[in-house]
């Protein structure tokens, strides 16, 4: 199963992954049009800095995901085909239990739609947008088995 890995030493904090993520989740997928969309497209990855290092934080798609266990509506679920933790926003009631339990802070509130917002690992793309968007290849996709 493929997973997204981070090579921290390569992250320069350019936040291109954020922009790429928002773009791939926009209607137009074009930066010059996306900034005019309402509601504005949201990104699911956040680059933060600790000391001298940058951390592109996104959902880890835990095997034992606490957000799934905490979800009261059944929206948060394991997509067994691709091994991702997915949120069916149509079922989400906005109780924020997932926000409460995610130890990575990777589930946020979609303020406009009042549903949980998290990485979907770009199911319709060959490669997640953040990976494709990373100019230093700090984010990369690899087979899980190769790294563990």
């Amino acid at each position: 199963m493929k997973e997204v890995f981070v090579r921290l030493a390569r992250c320069v904090g350019c936040r291109q992954c954020e922009i790429s993520c928002a773009l791939v989740h926009s209607e137009s997928r074009d930066i010059h049009q996306a900034v005019w969309e309402r509601p504005l497209p949201r990104q699911r990855v956040r680059v933060t800095r600790e000391g001298s290092e940058y951390y592109p934080l996104r959902c880890f798609h835990c095997e034992d995901a606490p957000c799934i266990g905490a979800c009261i509506s059944g929206a948060m679920h394991l997509d067994e085909d691709v091994g991702t933790v997915a949120c069916d926003t149509a079922r989400c009631v906005g109780c924020w239990m997932c926000v409460m339990v995610c130890p990575y802070g990777s589930v946020r509130i979609h303020e406009g739609q009042k549903v949980a917002l998290k990485c979907d690992r770009c199911p319709d793309e060959d490669e997640p947008a953040c990976v494709r968007g990373c100019p230093t290849r700090a984010l990369l996709v690899k087979e899980r088995a190769l790294v563990v």
Binding site: L23, I31, H32, V35, W36, L40, Q43
Partner: protein, 647 residues
């Protein structure tokens, strides 16, 4: 569409791209891919690197920072970046002009014997226009006065307007610029002011900033115009010439010297010297010397000397890849540093010539006006020397070239118009507009850019406009695109022009006895020569009793790339042209600035930006802009007549 087909519509460029692909040679298109995805912040103009606290970025999606460390909002940041870009363009154009002026002055002082006053009549005409009395003065004296006046536009300390602005636009436009406090008095000062007001902690008001940018843009316009004027005096005002364009002009049998850049001070001399050194080339086994051009240096020597145009900006590397270019002489602007690495794969000598425009590893022959011919000879010698090292196995020249009729300075065009209206030549064009025979005029300008499919925007829009009876003039790399594709040969009129335009051009061609007929698109010169198009527009406006903002005259830069394109675009809008740009400039990060440049500008200046990446849609919008102005002119005149009848 294949990967390479998606990069260009120019068959010669495509052939070379395939060749490059096979040979593993890197091009700008490959490097463009390596740059993807482009930085979203930079792309939207919301990255501020002006002070050392940052770099600051505004989150375009509204979740992160909404202001810079200093508190600057998106609109201040976008506006500051934009006007710095305008200042960059202004610096480039005006410094180019200043260089020509200094060369003229050196010649007049006897330090540049290899030059001459090639067009005393132009000197006289410019002198009259700027209010000098040429009576009883020698051409040298007139030229000196004109040149010093031009240099005063760079150095004036009084708050008086730049001569090259006030003397070239309508009184109404001058008044508007004064009223908006954007009239420059000193080109260098306008640039400095932009740099100052956009530095940390000065101007944060986006409208104020943009007006500062427009002042610089008008300074750019002055720089362009005086550059055209002085270059015409120095090397002659272009007259109709016939030549060829596209990579097929590179002759494998000859020593090929490519001139590239913008300022023809040395290239003109190289052309002359090459003709004198044919024997040396033959001695080296070549059939002779063939000088070809790239970018605006190409346009300059094509317009005045009929030197063939090899290709335009983005394809510059492809010329080297033919393996038959023995030397490429570059001056300044739009020269890719990548040429050096590429030349290393061949025998080609890359020769820089300007002290402040060098490339590591290239030959540098310092251009000095006092020994121009000597420098030119050294360069031609280097080329012949290189020819001996040429590897015939690496030669690959696409057999693609098109006939070009060029040399359409305003003077030339008025001569042609005079064939139908001796008394008032410009009436020929104005009548055609007023009678609806032609819909209006479009200026094709600007660069080529990897963001667009090479030349596609230029050609598509030209076809659409021609079909809709729009009279086309072109400059710079846009002109290069049209030339390469054959839109500047007479036959193109039959192929693309709508009925009205076709009738108009055929009538003009017949009346003027223009050999073989007129081209579809009129080549007016290099990018500084956009000033010629403004002269045409101002002439029309004056004839129609209005300002440029009222006449059906649009501009388009479908593949803009350089800061110079930003400054030209800015002054085009300020002068009143609806101006299409086919590459989104970094302004979308601020809705306010975008609104200002695309909408509000029209209320103030009549001109505005049309930002549209789809060439077909862009053509439609340009046609709508022309239609609107025609309608408005007719409507206001009709209502005026009615009112008078009522009285």
């Amino acid at each position: 569409m294949g990967r390479l087909e998606g990069r260009t519509v120019d068959p010669a460029a495509l052939e070379m791209l395939k060749h490059a692909d096979e040979q593993g040679l890197e091009t700008a298109w490959d490097r463009c891919r390596a740059q993807e995805p482009l930085c979203g912040f930079g792309n939207l103009g919301v990255c501020c690197r002006i002070c050392l606290q940052g770099p600051c970025r505004i989150d375009p999606f509204g979740e992160g920072a909404t202001r810079g460390i200093c508190g600057a909002q998106d609109y201040s940041i976008v506006a500051r970046n934009l006007i710095r870009s305008i200042a960059g363009g202004t610096a480039a154009h005006s410094d180019h002009g200043r260089h020509v002026a200094l060369t003229l002055l050196a010649h007049l002082d006897g330090h540049a014997p290899d030059y001459r006053i090639a067009d005393p009549a132009k000197a006289e005409a410019v002198a009259r226009r700027i209010g000098l009395d040429p009576a009883g003065k020698t051409p040298q004296e007139i030229t000196r006065e004109v040149t010093l006046a031009a240099l005063r536009d760079f150095s004036r300390l009084e708050e008086e307007p730049c001569t090259w602005v006030t003397s070239t636009v309508t009184p109404g436009m001058t008044e508007k610029f004064e009223e908006c406090a954007i009239m420059p008095s000193n080109i260098n000062g306008a640039i400095a002011e932009v740099m100052h007001r956009s530095t940390m902690g000065v101007d944060a008001d986006p409208i104020n900033l943009i007006f500062g940018g427009l002042k610089s843009a008008l300074a750019d316009y002055a720089g362009c115009h005086l550059s055209t004027d002085l270059t015409d005096i120095l090397f002659g005002t272009p007259r109709p010439v016939r030549s060829y364009a596209n990579l097929g002009v590179i002759d494998p049998e000859k020593v090929n010297i490519t001139v590239h850049g913008h300022i023809p001070l040395l290239s003109e001399i190289v052309v002359d010297v090459a003709r004198e050194m044919e024997d040396e080339a033959r001695a080296a086994g070549a059939a002779g010397i063939n000088v070809v051009g790239i970018c605006c240096t190409a346009n300059e020597v094509l317009m005045r000397k009929g030197i063939p145009l090899a290709t335009n900006f983005i394809a510059q590397e492809l010329a080297i890849m033919t393996g038959a270019v023995d030397a490429i002489i570059v001056d300044l602007q739009c020269i890719m540093p990548a040429l050096k690495t590429l030349c290393e794969c061949f025998h080609t000598r890359l020769i820089t010539t300007i002290p402040f425009s060098k490339i590591p590893g290239a030959y540098h022959v310092d251009f000095r006006e006092e020994r121009a011919k000597e420098s030119a000879r050294r360069i031609v010698k280097l080329a012949i020397e290189a020819y001996r090292e040429r590897d015939p196995a690496k030669v690959h020249v696409p057999q693609v070239k098109n006939e070009v009729v060029a040399g359409f300075s305003l003077e030339t065009m008025l001569e042609i118009f005079a064939s139908v209206n001796q008394e008032k030549p410009i009436r020929a064009l104005v009548d055609a507009i007023e009678e609806g025979e032609i819909r209006g005029i479009a200026l094709f300008a600007g660069c080529t850019n990897t963001k667009a499919r090479h030349d596609e925007g230029h050609l598509t829009i030209a076809r659409e406009l021609a079909k809709n009876d729009v009279f086309i003039v072109a400059t710079g790399c846009a002109a290069g695109a049209l030339a390469k594709a054959g839109y500047m040969r007479p036959g193109a009129v039959k192929e693309f022009a709508g009925p009205g335009l076709s009738r108009f051009l055929e009538r003009l061609g017949r009346a003027s006895g223009f050999d073989g007929g007129l081209p579809l698109a009129f080549h007016m010169g290099s990018c500084v020569d956009n000033s010629r198009a403004v002269d045409l527009a101002v002439l029309i406006a004056k004839e129609m009793g209005s300002d440029v903002a009222d006449i059906p005259f649009v501009a388009t830069a479908p593949e803009a790339m350089h800061e110079k394109a930003v400054s030209i675009g800015a002054w085009a809008v300020t002068l009143g042209f609806p101006t299409h740009v086919g590459v989104i400039p970094p302004v979308y990060g601020s809705s306010l600035v975008t609104e200002v440049v695309t909408k509000i500008a029209e209320d103030v200046f009549g001109g505005y930006f049309i930002l549209e990446t789809d060439p077909l849609k862009a053509a439609q919008k340009l046609i709508e802009a022309l239609n609107y102005r025609n309608w408005r002119r007719k409507y206001s005149r009709a209502s005026l007549d009615e009112a008078m009848v009522a009285e």
